[in-house]
Symmetry: C2
Subunit: 155 residues, 2 copies
């Protein structure tokens, strides 16, 4: 039994947004999340990975209650930031493994990814903390991923 992982969590209340091709200069993240804060949008995950050719993509997730408001908030901001475009998807779910002190153990995240691969899941987004590894998957069938992870970690 992997004592490192104590549970698997599922969150189906997820809208995933990616703003593509923002200029990689100070102030961009401030403007984007300032506009979301002004509109009282509760953000869950914020994910920005390495930049390329002076541009970057910034993703975030929020609850479905924001779904109707996001387009009208993002359109002016994305234009102001001179970003390329943004995408919005609510057919996704967040599946996480949770446990104390696990992320520094390199095998734990790899085991989660292997389990998702063996069960045919494509990973849309990844974010980790000291106690959690979260993956955004297509919502269809994501509950099966939870069961597969339970089995894989002996829970």
């Amino acid at each position: 039994r992997e004592v490192l992982v104590s549970g698997v969590a599922y969150d189906g209340d997820v809208v995933k947004v990616t703003v593509y091709g923002v200029p990689d200069r100070p102030g961009i993240a401030s403007e984007l999340f300032g506009a979301l804060a002004d509109a009282k949008i509760n953000v869950d995950m914020i994910i920005q990975s390495g930049h390329k050719d002076g541009k970057n993509d910034i993703s975030f997730t929020c609850g479905k209650e924001a779904d109707g408001k996001l387009e009208e908030i993002l359109e002016p901001v994305v234009e102001q930031l001179a970003a390329e475009h943004f995408s919005l998807a609510d057919d996704v779910a967040k599946v996480s493994i949770v446990g104390a002190g696990m992320i520094t153990n390199p095998g734990v995240a790899a085991k989660m990814f292997k389990c998702l691969y063996d069960n045919g899941f494509n990973i849309d987004m990844i974010s980790t903390s000291e106690i959690k590894v979260s993956c955004i998957l297509q919502k269809e069938g994501a509950k099966d991923a939870v069961r597969a992870l339970h089995d894989s970690f002996g829970l």
Copy 2:
């Protein structure tokens, strides 16, 4: 005083790696982190944001003790994954704000990003959890970011 944020953390023992242009299909993350796990590389943050045109970039951070080994581990894997290339940088630091239940409060992350902007910092990577917002910055001057964040959150 922002009771939401209780501290600011600095970690200078950071190597940032981004693998660019991996095919966005099941099994890629499993192979990459499987290879790192086999080589006993302790990974800190794993960050993958939205994909584009069937490709994606995956970033991760680890401690400097891995620096000498990473190239020889990543070269064969990156080739096997048919990724475009990978970048490695150790002139970076992680600066985080920490506090209970803060990430759902949209203003907290925005306030951090605004503070970094006002002090001229460019944000390389972003990762969040329920209790933490972490930014990867250029190491030079990053300790000044810690002081600025202390002031901004009244700590």
